[in-house]
């Protein structure tokens, strides 16, 4: 193959592909290598994996991760779909409300984390105050220190942060539904709930499938909120998989064990990524 025969397109993408290879492919291969060697670089077989998996905290961490991801995605979708449908209705000030709704999405993750941590504060937090005033709870709860409330609190923060994204996508999906379709079902005698059930949700299905997969990937990558609010505590009750990788590597300096965890983590994620790409490719074709 001579230089002349190579499409100019290849030359255009080459620098970027090399850069990405250096930043992504090389580290991933290197992770794989680290995961089967020991600190001195000698081959260690599956030892790192065994140690990492047999650690007493593994079950709890897996449970936490599933809890956090499922909880986050469910509430993000629920809130986002409701908000999207709401913002598709006609009412005064709709444009303003649409912009305001984007605030959680726009605010930096760390700022959201800090602000909610302050709101969840046991003694001086506004949430405990409002809830005791309304009578939902009788006395202040240590939301972030109580092992039973820490995950729900963190899920609430994550749901708040991401629901505008779902709402925007749902809104876009709904706006692509021709107005005549609504008029047609109204002529056929449908009420608002029929409209949601028979027109909106079926039209949104492809959007929702890809959003769900995206939200899952993002929730699995959710270090920022949890690490900055609780650091995985109390007593590992909010420790999730990616934070464990960070902790192993940068707090215990167990790089090989962290690499083994990374490999497991990546294998699991790649299932979701492949699913997403298949859905995505199918949608591109339409």
């Amino acid at each position: 193959m001579t230089m002349r025969n190579i499409s100019p397109g290849v030359w255009f993408i080459l620098p970027t592909m090399l850069l990405l290879a250096a930043l992504i492919v090389y580290p991933m291969l290197s992770t794989a290598e680290l995961s089967v060697t020991d600190a001195n670089g000698a081959f260690a077989g599956m030892r790192n994996f065994n140690v990492a998996i047999s650690a007493p905290s593994t079950r709890l961490i897996l449970f936490n991760t599933a809890y956090y991801v499922i909880g986050s995605v469910v509430f993000q979708l629920l809130l986002g779909i409701l908000a999207g449908i709401l913002l598709n209705q006609h009412f005064a000030g709709r444009a303003l409300v649409r912009s305001l709704m984007l605030i959680p999405w726009v605010v930096p993750g760390i700022v959201a984390a800090m602000t909610w941590a302050w709101m969840f504060h046991t003694d001086y937090g506004i949430i405990n105050y409002i809830m005791t005033q309304v009578g939902v709870i009788s006395e202040p709860i240590g939301w972030l220190t109580n092992p039973n409330t820490v995950m729900p609190a963190l899920i609430a923060v994550n749901a708040w942060k991401m629901f505008p994204f779902v709402a925007v996508m749902v809104l876009a999906g709904l706006q692509s539904v021709p107005e005549e379709l609504y008029e047609a079902v109204r002529v056929d005698g449908a009420n608002f709930w029929h409209e949601i059930w028979h027109i909106m949700l079926p039209q949104l299905r492809p959007v929702l499938v890809s959003i769900t997969l995206l939200l899952t990937i993002w929730a699995l990558d959710g270090i920022t909120i949890i690490y900055s609010i609780t650091g995985g505590g109390p007593a590992n009750r909010s420790m999730i998989f990616p934070i464990q990788i960070y902790v192993q590597a940068f707090e215990y300096f167990e790089f090989n064990r962290a690499a083994a965890l990374s490999v497991l983590y990546f294998l699991f994620l790649s299932v979701i990524i492949v699913l997403y790409m298949r859905v995505f490719a199918a949608q591109e074709k339409d």
Partner: protein
């Protein structure tokens, strides 16, 4: 009558939605302007009386936040710009040419965009350490390309595809070279895309936490998100300062958002739907 019922039916959920979305942000702003004594009261005080700039003074004069702010600015701008330069060529290549391996390469870019940061921090640390790039601007700028480059390529490819092929054919007939077509015809026409990509990359790097936490450990090199997290220690947190610093950190993002709201939402959508 029906209309009024409908208005009521919609107003209530809309009001709840607005409160849920806006309240934490407002509470942060309000807390930032409260003097120490009014932050820690039971029951909490709704509004600062009188508002004070004390917290901001602490943040600006007695903390490292100003330095972190500048670090964040340098790293975000550097990485955004670098990604843009590479992405312009790559996106053009993807949008305009058909070659063997094209879809595989595009899929790889998409994977890069989806790949969680935690999978690569360990080896990246080793590589950066080996190259002496831990705690340097260059180190973080390069690492942030993982966030900005795939996204920029992906978004710009969409914009370049939107340019009619005939325009480029016309330029070739007029005697332009391949690069001439890109710089004289296509690039000027994707200006909105360039702006959207720039904003998006800037925001993504400005907010980034995990890489900064792992690769910028020295005081001189830390970025704003890390600085913010530092305020809060297990035993003693100056919540007034944290809220003031949060306010400062949100400001550039809020400004960008206010000025370019339409573009931002458009970018969010194209960035999101396409991965």
């Amino acid at each position: 009558m029906r209309d009024r019922r409908r208005t009521l039916l919609i107003s209530l959920p809309v009001a709840i939605l607005v409160i849920v979305a806006v309240f934490p942000f407002l509470w942060m702003a309000v807390s930032a302007f409260k003097p120490l004594a009014q932050l820690y009261t039971i029951p909490p005080q709704w509004l600062p009386d009188p508002p004070t700039l004390e917290n901001f003074k602490n943040v600006v004069f007695q903390s490292n936040i100003p330095r972190y702010f500048i670090n964040s600015l340098i790293i975000s701008i550097g990485s955004t710009f670098l990604a843009l330069v590479f992405a312009i060529f790559a996106a053009y290549g993807f949008a305009r040419f058909d070659f063997r391996g094209r879809s595989a390469a595009l899929a790889f870019v998409l994977i890069g965009q989806l790949l969680p940061t935690a999978t690569v921090i360990v080896p990246l640390y080793i590589v950066l350490n080996y190259l002496g790039l831990i705690n340097t601007y260059l180190g973080l700028i390069l690492v942030y390309l993982i966030l900005t480059l795939p996204l920029s390529v992906w978004m710009l490819t969409g914009y370049f595809r939107g340019i009619p092929k005939e325009l480029e054919d016309a330029a070739i007939i007029d005697g332009a070279s391949q690069l001439g077509v890109l710089f004289r015809i296509s690039l000027p026409l994707v200006t909105p895309g360039i702006i959207a990509v720039t904003l998006y990359s800037f925001v993504a790097t400005w907010n980034e936490f995990v890489f900064a936490l792992s690769f910028a450990t020295e005081k001189e090199m830390k970025t704003l998100p890390i600085g913010l997290a530092e305020f809060s220690t297990e035993f003693d947190t100056d919540w007034g300062a944290v809220m003031a610093a949060s306010f400062v950190m949100t400001l550039p993002i809020a400004l960008i958002f206010l000025v370019m709201q339409r573009m931002f939402v458009g970018g969010l959508m194209s960035g999101a739907t396409k991965g």
